[in-house]
Symmetry: C2
Subunit: 190 residues, 2 copies
DNA sequence: ATGTAACGCTACGCTACGTAGCGTACTATA
DNA sequence: TATAGTACGCTACGTAGCGTAGCGTTACAT
């Protein structure tokens, strides 16, 4: 796994071949296949391992919950093996449909879980409109990040995620905002 | 191209092999390679060909502009070859970095163009906040759609895109909305 | 009639996933 | 100490699929 991590970080998913992992780790390819049935399984483990650091920040309000989580995601995707691993798994799932189902089960589940928790709590607190479609919000947030991750047309950093979260929370339409008066004391509503 | 289209629609990108295109079209594989240097180039042509139907609807306000465009995108991605072609190109770009640059140039350019036009016009009209980050909005909209396209965890339909657009325009935070009074007569501002 | 362009065909080269089969070292237990 | 079991290494394959080389053939234009 250490070798695979190194290769992923240096050369991205395209450079990750089982032969090379075997060579650089000094472990026979057959042995690697005895532990992971496919390359995708190895990548999944790498991803999940790195993604353990994501947790619910529980800061007290949605905006900072999301921004705090996003900060961790940015680090995860740009500094750790999770970025290239995820990108590779997504690509793999398209080219090799057999890997699609386990990928979705392992990944989409865990990744969406924390955000769902944050948003659900925010609705209960009355911070968000009660009819908010949680999955839609997750798709907008996660989709934008994944979009940039896949295309690399723009950076993924705190400025981006902060603005993204503001956009999804407040919209971009010109409007007079009259903040809900219990916005900061939103626990009242529970 | 007709054969490739048929294969993509029936079996998705994973089933699209040059051998199969040759076989089903009755054209030699070498001849196909004389026209398109790579499989990605063939897919790009298929995509661009299908995407010609996207145009600026110019309905008079942002929301319906975007929703109208989104309706065309939904049809494009779910009923035509553009969906699987795009998915394949994205995957290919990850596994084979050589194809990444041309893909971005051809694709990201055209795809983002129309939306950028709509949003730019909306800002000039005063429908959107003047400091709106257009690329960010495009990433949120396009990202969510691409996310669902890649993962297939939820349907892509008009209900989804309509709600998505409302979300990005108005946010999901609980707030008293006092619509700008010239909201429906927004041409006044120009 | 001849040159040129486009096509077809067979056979390859290459990469990389994933597997089979067999031999070997290390460890635990009688 | 003998032996069984487990984990590992190695070589050699099988397979898929992209992309290419080389050569022959057809069709069309001048």
């Amino acid at each position: 796994m250490a070798a695979a991590r190194r290769i992923l970080l240096e050369g991205g998913y395209a450079r990750l071949t089982m032969e090379r992992v075997a060579q650089e780790s000094g472990i026979a390819k057959t042995t690697i296949y005895r532990r992971w049935p496919t390359k995708a399984a190895l990548c999944t483990d790498l991803y999940l391992d790195a993604a353990l650091e994501l947790h619910d920040p529980e800061t007290g309000n949605v905006a900072s919950d999301l921004k705090s989580l996003a900060e961790a995601v940015v680090r995860l995707q740009t500094r750790t093996v999770a970025g290239p691993a995820l990108v590779g798994l997504i690509a793999e799932a398209q080219l090799n449909p057999k890997t699609k189902r386990p990928f979705l089960a392992e990944f989409a589940g865990r990744r969406r879980g924390v955000t769902r928790l944050i948003l659900h709590r925010a609705i209960e607190r009355g911070e968000l409109q009660p009819d908010t479609d949680i999955d839609l919000v997750i798709d907008a947030l996660g989709g934008a990040v994944t979009f940039r991750l896949l295309q690399g047309h723009a950076p993924i950093n705190k400025r981006f995620t902060d603005e993204l979260i503001d956009l999804v929370l407040c919209g971009c339409k010109k409007q007079k905002l009259v903040q809900n008066q219990d916005e900061s004391e939103s626990r009242r509503i529970r």
